[in-house]
């Protein structure tokens, strides 16, 4: 029997396509492995403390804990309560500074 010329080509192994990391993932991994992510986190901590963001978050956590009762609050609860507010209140200047640092890193890592 002649093989069908219309037979579709052997399919690629599906797993390979899933494992292919996105650009975002590649950048992230490079940041972590080079230690740059840790440095950026330190810088971010410093900036957010300076501008009072950390104190604001602390106050929110305290208020929430007082309302719900000390023994009825988990770390996860607190994270969920303050994350949206926290994200929304990061000053633009801090965002800009960090983006600039990441850009510089990308250039130097020659991606």
């Amino acid at each position: 029997m002649r093989p069908s010329i219309n037979r579709p080509p052997t399919p690629e192994a599906e797993e390979d396509q899933e494992k292919e990391p996105t650009l975002q993932e590649i950048i992230n991994i490079k940041l972590i492995e080079s230690g740059e992510k840790e440095r950026l986190k330190e810088l971010l901590r410093e900036r957010l403390t300076e501008c009072g963001w950390r104190d604001e978050m602390k106050a929110l956590c305290r208020a929430f804990t007082r309302k719900k009762g000390r023994n009825n609050v988990t770390v996860d609860d607190l994270v969920h309560v303050i994350t949206p507010k926290g994200r929304a209140s990061v000053p633009d200047s801090v965002k800009a500074e960090l983006l600039q640092r990441i850009r510089t890193f990308l250039v130097s890592a020659a991606l």
């Binding site: 492995e33 501008c51 507010k85 209140s89």
Partner: protein, 558 residues
Amino acid sequence: MSGRNPTYTNPKPCKHLADYKLKHGLDGYNSLQKSLKTTPNGRTAMNRDQSKIPRCSFCSGYEGRLYFCLICSSVSCFSSLELNHAFLHSQSVKGHEIAVDMERAELFCCVCCDQVYDPDFDKAVMCKQIMEMPCNNNVVDVSIESSNKRRKVAPKKTALDLKNSRDLVMRLRRESNSCFLWGLRGLNNLGSTCFMNSVLQALLHAPPLRNYFLTEQHSRESCRKSSFDGLCLRCEIATLFSAFFSGDRAPYSPARFLYSWWKHSADLASYEQQDAHEFFISLLDRIHERGEQARPSNKDNGDCHCITHRVFSGVLRSDVTCTTCGFTSTTYDPCVDISLDLDPRNGCAMEVADGFIKQSETKDMSTLVGCLDLFTRPEKLGSDQKLYCQHCQVRRDSLKQMSIRRLPLVLCFHIKRFEHSPIRKMSRKINRYLQFPFTLDMTPYLSSSIVRNRFGNRIFAFESDEADISTEFDVFAVVTHSGKLESGHYVTYLRLKNQWYKCDDAWITQVSEGVVRASQGYLIYYVQKILYHKASEDMLAQPISPHRDSFLSTSVCC
């Protein structure tokens, strides 16, 4: 802000942590120590392999919080209650319930899905930190012994709190039958001396000083004989105290006192307006000196026992940390007051998301608490102020942080309202309003709190823990300044038995709380709560005879 709850020191472990401890004891913690790493700023994390990032054993994810199982060392992630592989791990393998947050070095119970606390764990973390961080061999900052319970011991009775004082109070009370409020008396202005009058009013009503002088602990008889020039400032002050607490309410002219003080501070002898704070400091200095002449056996180790130091002297701690290696150099300095810079009004340069600012506390005015926060905040020393780090052996960028090692009986806060610029050869006064509380808990500013906070608030005993010193203070006097730098006026507000009185040189008037709160504080005096309440008990509040009442009673609305 709520005061520290003395019963809250160690949170109770959950059932799973308790089981883990019973079964494994400290083994897990001790073997974990090898993997811990501390950065110079005090944060501890699990030291990860630089070439590989830790990934969850279930999903290979590296995002969210990663937890390291204390029993099998496997890593699982926790992103949300739905995506909770840490919990899965505890369900898939029996007994694997306690893990460590890799980024924060904190215990986590995978079943309760919450952080848990164990003093033994914190101790293991702290030990590693102490071992790792470059240490100063001269100062043992953190003791290895852990004493978990911070007992709140009853405040020590001070030596000034004599039984004699009560007897004297009772005797004088009986003798001065027309007293409305004991010890309240005006001071005549002898020529721009309001700076002196205002401070004297505050000192005359500082409970420990009052007790000391009224119980004749400085004996005027034996002093006149021993002092060579016949002018003892302490005698003058004792005279003032007697005059004030004699029951006579006519305004008093402190001429002899002024003369004595001039003789002792020739450089300040003039009729010019002077700074009340400068006067306060120089007065304390002179009283201390005179004391030493009479009793030259004073110890030289900074622990002076003269009356001024017993009442006003505290100890400040200054930590300078190298930002590169974490080496901290600590120094202790005695102080008789605390000078505070005014905190900026708008400390937060934050973006306002919808409705966000309304819910949180806005900072639209300066507060004393804010000034204290500023005082104890870690300060980045400028690049032109690089200090020599003993560990790195070079000059490095450093962080400086102040805290209070020992609180005095009477706390005097000096608000730096007078700015002197040597460059511009100009001085100016800062008139900004400062809000101050009537009761103040100094716990967050103690060295023990500040240092503990630097290490993540771990449950650990620090050498500088002082559980037996009372940290609660009540205000009793406020010296205010109104007007300009060159031509201003000082007025003191005194709080006697929870009632406020305005002392404006010779005029004493009763005022409402609101007036005091709205005033421009320059020197604010606080005394330890227990001493204030004892003093209040001693104050007389007998019905007044209307004929002898020379006090004006006005309520001034703010």
